[in-house]
Symmetry: C2
Subunit: 426 residues, 2 copies
């Protein structure tokens, strides 16, 4: 189990202790949330554990690291997929998986291969249909693992989508639509999971963390803890143009106000470190368009290269909305390298996770950057099983706490999608 | 993985191969069955693998070996319990577990302790309420594992059952009611799982295997295999009195006719062993009231001790209805001792299993007898994950086949309970 390199583990142990003693109430609370707002098909949550604070820093509705999940989690994944199908469409047989279009990233395609395999082990007929113009005929990709992944071109007839000789009853997106919503997926008869509105062309992190704030308050009240221990401060600025340097006043003001709030809390909680905030695109992924700052002024002095980096994200999407989020240290290390846990969920079930590790980054930097690697060993026990007889920071109890916070972010994602669906059904 | 001590593995490999190539259809078939007839809370199935035949020989709706399940299966158990609750009663918080009343069997109480722990890990408040008159106040039982199990007396007020200061919303029976249906459990407001009619005072193995026969036919047609490969021949005789030797003609006739049918099938399939049949109480458990015979005449020559053994089962219940079932060899051995797999299920999910092993019994005898022991190691991989790229008899593929046949028996149990419920709602 990763080493926690901070003396400030007291609050974390308190949080874990509260979770252990309220476990029945926590699980009951989650069941009631899922009854009110069903969870999306899958999600992954990046957590940061600062000892005095345990919080999600990102919730991805198109998880792309199934190849990093240890084999011991596959039975849980298959069981969770089967439960999702039994709950939403028991008669389902054929599923079409639509991945990202970057066909040269073999590491990503390993993820697609593994996801396809888990869906097949759950008893589905699965084909992979690509949005990429490069895939104009069934194309086999030979992967580093020795596996082979075939991707096929998509064919649309009326309001039905298929590949050659295969008409799916469910379309599963592993493509976060950073480049926008493709016309071929609009207004289809077949259901799409997660829905198109979950893609980054419409989804906003600020909306997610607003829902997370509300859910964290509810759970904090249940656990009789200070919601601050699990909820990162955040603000949002619109109409930012990094290249033209317009909108910087809003950014600078919100960065400094957020830092002030954090400083106050740090004083209250005896945290001696300097606070930092993360400035990132309100719609973005792959760790792009992210920077950590310790004062608003730093944003005024960005050079052209830094501004360009902040101005565009995946697939060239330009950045205008920005979220300013409390920076949460990660005090976990694996063999001396800084690490942060990533928890995977399918339906409402935590199905495993791994650590994102970076040997060249510090505990207050973004680890989702070139040079990172993954440690599948991390979750020795799934996050499902606390050990009430054990010490708070026993491995199962730390990972159970991670599973609770990750599911809290999942509740926020479910509510976020429900709100977006009400506002704009497709 | 247990060694299969038979040359006749061809048919088993064919069966496993058919299951692998029809996996999507199998899982889809099961999903449709559960939608039509929901599964009971839990069940365990004793399987026998004769190489040319893989069949269930008993389905227990009150499994009592949770302490034999390896820890690696606990996450699956907890996830399955959570799914059962989410499907049947998401608001559930308090559960009362009612075990068997034999309070001196500490090995059985280890099972109760483990089941209680899994229910708690699933997020429930759990208490154990005993039907035993010996438990007149909260009583702590110190177990060989070092754990402590507290059992409390039951208190009934009107149509509500509780223990002191704890009113459950669900009552879970781990007591098979061999001694009859206790008045205190009749006509309660709180739901009881499994229902009282699932107890041995009303349930009959012959009804179970009649439903199993129908389900096996359906699955065999789907798999394009001979249903005989997965379905043990059986007959039933009523109004038997072993002590007065009345009803023996029916027994002798049905034993010999069953043996004739099996011999014919053995000739057809090139099986060179002598067939045998199992004569057992139509309502019974714990391996009591069971004998293996190779001719009807053997039943006429039973001595007094043998007749007494056949005449009464658990808790002194007398035997009048008898099932005659095709004997299925078990060609699996662990370190030279004969073994048979026991598969555990919660809700519709296979959650693990173990091997019942007996060093003093042969491959055509009842292993559920004093001197047996359990090998929790057995199911290296849960029965959920076949390995389509592997050989048919690779470990995952053999256990996947076990999981399919065990779930087939679960479908039969679900249909059996539904039929009994229609005939007699409580």
């Amino acid at each position: 189990m990763p080493h926690l390199t901070t003396a400030m583990v007291g609050p974390l142990h308190e949080l874990e202790q509260q979770m252990l003693s309220h476990q029945a109430r926590i699980e009951h609370w989650f069941r009631c949330q899922w009854r009110a707002t069903p969870p999306p098909f899958y999600a992954s949550v990046d957590l940061r554990n600062a000892g005095f604070k345990l919080a999600p820093v990102d919730t991805n509705l198109f998880p792309a690291g199934f190849n990093n999940l240890g084999a011991e989690f596959h039975p849980l994944c298959v069981a969770a997929i089967q439960n999702y199908i039994a709950r939403t469409n028991p008669g389902l047989e054929r599923l079409l998986l639509i991945p990202e279009s970057h066909t040269r990233n073999l590491f990503y395609l390993e993820n697609v291969f593994q996801l396809k395999r888990l869906l097949e082990l759950a008893g589905l007929d699965v084909r992979v249909g690509s949005l990429s113009p490069e895939v104009s005929a069934p194309t086999a990709f030979e992967l580093p693992s020795g596996n082979r992944l075939v991707q096929e071109p998509l064919v649309r007839e009326g309001r039905r989508l298929r590949t050659d000789g295969f008409e799916p009853e469910l379309i599963l997106l592993n493509n976060d639509l950073s480049g926008g919503r493709p016309e071929i997926l609009e207004n289809l008869e077949q259901p799409i999971a997660p829905p198109l509105l979950a893609g980054w062309s419409t989804r906003r992190k600020s909306m997610h963390f607003a829902h997370y704030r509300a859910a964290a308050k509810e759970l904090a009240a249940l656990l009789e803890i200070d919601a601050w221990a699990i909820d990162p401060e955040f603000r949002k600025c619109d109409r930012i143009d990094f290249m033209k340097k317009s909108g910087l006043d809003c950014l600078v003001k919100n960065v400094d106000e957020t830092l002030d709030i954090i400083r106050e809390k740090y004083r209250e909680h005896g945290v001696t470190r300097d606070p930092f905030v993360v400035v990132k695109a309100d719609a973005g992924t792959y760790g792009m368009g992210i920077m950590m700052v310790k004062s608003g002024e730093e944003l005024r002095d960005l050079n052209r290269k830094q501004r360009t980096k902040m101005a565009t994200v995946k697939e060239g999407a330009s950045v205008s909305d920005v979220i300013i989020q409390e920076g949460v240290f990660t005090f976990e290390t694996i063999e001396g390298a800084v690490a942060e846990p990533v928890v995977y969920m399918i339906d409402s079930q935590v199905v495993g996770g791994f650590y994102r590790v970076h040997t060249q980054r510090t505990d207050e930097e973004n680890l989702n950057a070139p040079g990172m690697h993954f440690e599948p060993l991390a979750f020795a026990q799934s996050c499902v099983l606390p050990n009430p007889q054990g010490q708070p920071d026993d491995c199962p109890n730390r990972f159970y706490a991670y599973g609770v916070i990750a599911r809290l972010a999942l509740v926020a994602a479910a509510r976020e999608l429900a709100e977006m669906h009400k506002a704009q059904p497709f």
